[in-house]
């Protein structure tokens, strides 16, 4: 709903806080979700996510949520679905070119971002939406991606070794391994 959406943007800082917590919880759950199978949890989680976010942000379930980089103003509500800032047609008073009764989603976004701790994220250049992810859960995607990111960081050293010894990697790959290691195989890992 428009009114609730405006409320969420006015309180972008609180919602940012809540979202950070949610994100951390989702990352912590990654091993568990992995065990149950992301495939199996996808539908129910997407359903809950849709209910919550539709009410709060007029979410359109694009599947690639970027609220933290858009002042908690959902860019899919922009009639042009822009992902990187306002178009050149914003009306006097900050109203939308296409829907004159609605505040420009991006004027609101910059406003929301100015109250957020991580508001500077709005400067990030975002890629176009992958339309085939529409309807899927962003929350699960975030948890998968962030967990993968952490794994990547942990494995950076191994990647560096493999890059530095390309011949060993080619001829004797177990001397410069890259495949994911099961926890049991690595000493000292939990």
């Amino acid at each position: 709903m428009y009114r609730i959406r405006l409320f969420a943007i006015r309180h972008s800082r609180s919602f940012e806080w809540i979202y950070k917590r949610l994100e951390r919880a989702m990352i912590a759950l990654d091993p568990l979700l992995g065990k149950i199978g992301y495939d199996r949890v996808e539908r129910p989680v997407a359903f809950v996510e849709k209910c919550v976010k539709t009410v709060l942000f007029d979410c359109k379930m694009c599947g690639q949520c970027v609220l933290s980089s858009t002042g908690m103003s959902c860019p899919m509500n922009c009639p042009k679905q822009l992902r990187n800032g306002p178009c050149g047609g914003v009306r006097p008073g900050g109203f939308c070119e296409v829907k004159p009764d609605m505040k420009c989603v991006w004027a609101l976004a910059w406003d929301g971002a100015s109250r957020m701790k991580g508001g500077a994220q709005i400067h990030t250049v975002l890629p176009p939406v992958e339309r085939n992810l529409e309807g899927s859960s962003s929350w699960l995607r975030v948890s998968r991606e962030k967990a993968a990111h952490l794994r990547e960081a942990r494995e950076k050293r191994r990647t560096a070794i493999a890059d530095a010894f390309p011949d060993a990697r080619a001829n004797e790959p177990s001397a410069a391994p890259l495949a994911e290691e099961p926890a049991q195989a690595v000493k000292g890992s939990k």
Partner: protein, 316 residues
């Protein structure tokens, strides 16, 4: 015309004359061609002739205002054949990423060396409001995509491009409409995405534009991107009012409309205002040129530029 696949001159990304003029620190001039509702190339050449006399590049608009005319890629191709240097405008409204990336290669192959990446006006303001709006890209993701095609030699899919398109990358900015405080920040984001030059929308409110430029200089953007200020002659007070309320993103202050109203010959006055604007733009630090948009008045462009005197200081 230079071969598309010879390497661009040292320190350049393309063979564009506009790029050369800007990088050498000369005051650049671009002008907009109004696309014909016709399939006759002669109509394009007729409109291009008076612009070519003064402009370093001629903008081929892409259904601006969501009105259907000859396509920008068609006009660009005709212009390169006749030795003009076009700015191929790409709007995100009508085509998806598959079409646009293909057209970028096609345009470059036909000798186009400047592109201008635009979001595009909504379909609702145009002559066919029932059309399906596409907006697969926005202007920034489009900039980044063409930059990737040029510099990394890759489509967005990761597939390799054998000979990359050598294009000078441009974007638009609209300094005189809200959210004012964020317009310079948005410009920064466009530079980050890959913009190398900027053509602004019409500017009639010089103090507002000066404020914008001050912030642009504070952010150091004038060192990173060439800014061409948008100007154009108004036809009459009535036309100005109509434009203000019907064309998205145009801001004409009351003072300017008043002046038009009081003038005995509004057409002459509109031209005079335009000449004055160009002279004022020239004095603003960080402005590298002007972009002249003379709607249905191409024949006035060379006169306006000559009267402004901006070419006098420039060896051509």
């Amino acid at each position: 015309m230079s071969q598309p696949y010879s390497a661009p001159p040292e320190g350049h990304v393309s063979h564009s004359r506009l790029e050369r003029v800007l990088r050498s620190g000369r005051f650049a001039i671009t002008a907009e061609l109004n696309p014909p509702d016709s399939a006759d190339p002669a109509d394009v050449y007729e409109a291009a002739r008076p612009l070519g006399e003064v402009a370093d590049a001629i903008n081929a608009t892409d259904a601006s205002g969501a009105n259907c005319h000859m396509s920008s890629i068609g006009i660009s191709a005709l212009l390169t054949r006749a030795g003009y240097s076009p700015v191929y405008q790409i709007s995100c409204r009508d085509r998806n990423r598959i079409a646009i990336q293909g057209d970028v290669l096609g345009a470059a192959a036909m000798g186009v060396s400047n592109v201008l990446c635009l979001t595009g006006d909504g379909v609702g303001v145009g002559d066919q409001p029932g059309a399906k709006p596409v907006f697969d890209f926005d202007s920034l993701s489009l900039l980044r995509t063409i930059k990737t095609m040029r510099d990394e030699r890759k489509f967005l899919s990761g597939r390799t491009i054998k000979n990359p398109p050598q294009l000078f990358l441009g974007a638009a900015e609209n300094p005189c409409i809200p959210p004012y405080d964020w317009r310079p920040e948005r410009l920064a984001k466009k530079v980050e995405a890959g913009a190398e030059y900027i053509q602004t929308n019409y500017i009639y409110d010089v103090p507002l534009f000066e404020k914008f430029m001050a912030r642009v200089r504070d952010l150091g953007l004038d060192k990173k991107v060439y800014i061409l200020a948008g100007v154009g002659p108004l036809a009459s007070a009535r036309a100005a009012r109509w434009m203000r309320s019907n064309v998205p993103g145009i801001h004409v202050p009351d003072a300017v409309i008043d002046r038009m109203e009081k003038a005995e010959k509004p057409g002459q006055e509109g031209k005079k205002i335009c000449v004055e604007l160009i002279q004022q733009m020239r004095e603003i630090a960080g402005v590298s040129g002007v972009h002249v948009m003379a709607y249905r008045k191409e024949h006035e462009v060379s006169e306006i530029i000559r009267e402004s005197g901006v070419l006098a200081s420039r060896k051509r």
